[in-house]
Amino acid sequence: MNDDNVLTAVREGFAPVRMQTPAKAIMARGAMMRRRTNSGRLTAGALAAALGAGLSVSAFGHGGTAQDAALAAWTVQQQSDGTVLVTVRKLDDMAALRARLAPYGVSITPEPNPKLAMVCGFPVLPPLMALRPGHLKPLRGVPVVMPPIVVWRAGEKEVFDGAKTFPLPDGHRLRIKFVHVIRGPGKVTVEPLHCALKQFTPAKLPVKQRPTPPTPPS
């Protein structure tokens, strides 16, 4: 038995070994790592800018890359009080988001809402999708219902924002925010940090006042 026989025996012995993990799972995990790296690079700059603007950054999620001046499609951040903050800006890489939220017992299934595009007066907005209420499905019986999406105008931009906090079985709280930046024709001029922080100013959201019902005479 020479060296080649030995090596051939070992090589043939491992021939049946096959990798089972699908490529999509690998790439979702890699994309998560990439986002984490990018957000880490931006954290210092975002913090400095937010402090300069005099705004609170306690609920500030992770941002996107500075190179393309675009926010990350979504971010998940566990805060010091146990709240899990999910900020969804774009319906990209939802499989990775589902995997990210699975440990918290929540499955998210967003779908595009064509009606929203019509509301905003943009007839064709293929990459800009909103979320229908009621498309968050619980894994462990957590009642999750999305609020209606709030719309307000900010100069030439229109921002869609919906946010709600849900209790989770393990004592955590899940807070989900949806932020969709409608981009008009031409180059995008929205500043990601400005938009990300702006959503945390509830006073700017239009609040519909319901008429008080008349008190019945006693």
């Binding site: 038995m1 060296d3 026989n5 030995v6 090596l7 025996a9 070992v10 090589r11 012995g13 491992f14 021939a15 049946p16 070994v17 096959r18 990798m19 089972q20 993990t21 699908p22 490529a23 799972a25 690998i26 790439m27 995990r29 890699g30 994309a31 790592m33 990439r34 790296t37 995997a99 699975a102 440990p103």
Partner: protein, 167 residues
């Protein structure tokens, strides 16, 4: 982006089994090997622009796998069950096929560094210089480790091969 994605997918499809075999032969635990290789490929995708220019990306994956922590994949396996392979031999640890127990035992009796040298030379077809660079040791050390490993394996496996040749 699509080109990057396609390139990585092609790389994964062609290199994943060899990388898994190399890591499996090095660590001896099939599930841990799968987790390690998955983590290493995920890291490769996270920095694909760099890894794709590496002279031996498979070696990068194996080296990363041998240094990686696999907690994320273990946690994920609890949350999301992978589809069962169609024809899976019992006791193979879920890697799609069984490795002969005597062969595995003989490999595991080798020192770890010798196993790694055998794995890189055998499954990734790396030459002495590339193996040395991947493992961070001298080329002469690679040659010595390989010679000792083959001598040990010859002594361990000869009876088995002899028996099989008579059947």
């Amino acid at each position: 982006m699509d080109t990057e994605s396609d390139g990585f997918t092609r790389f994964y499809e062609t290199a994943r089994d060899d990388c898994l075999r190399a890591v499996y032969a090095s660590v001896g635990d099939p599930q841990a090997a799968e987790d390690l290789v998955a983590e290493a490929f995920a890291r490769a995708w996270a920095r694909w622009r760099t890894v794709s220019r590496h002279p031996a990306p498979q070696a990068w994956v194996v080296r990363t796998a041998l240094n990686a922590r696999v907690s994320w994949w273990r946690r994920r396996r609890r949350e999301i069950a992978f589809p069962e392979p169609a024809a899976e031999a019992p006791g193979d640890g879920g890697l799609g096929g069984a490795v002969d127990r005597e062969l595995m035992a003989a490999l595991l009796r080798l020192p770890a560094r010798q196993r790694q040298v055998v794995a890189l030379r055998l499954f990734l077809d790396l030459d002495t210089a590339a193996t040395a660079e991947t493992l961070g040791i001298a080329p002469g050390t690679v040659t010595a480790h390989l010679a000792r490993a083959i001598a040990t394996l010859r002594a361990e496996l000869s009876p088995t091969i002899h028996e099989e040749s008579w059947r």
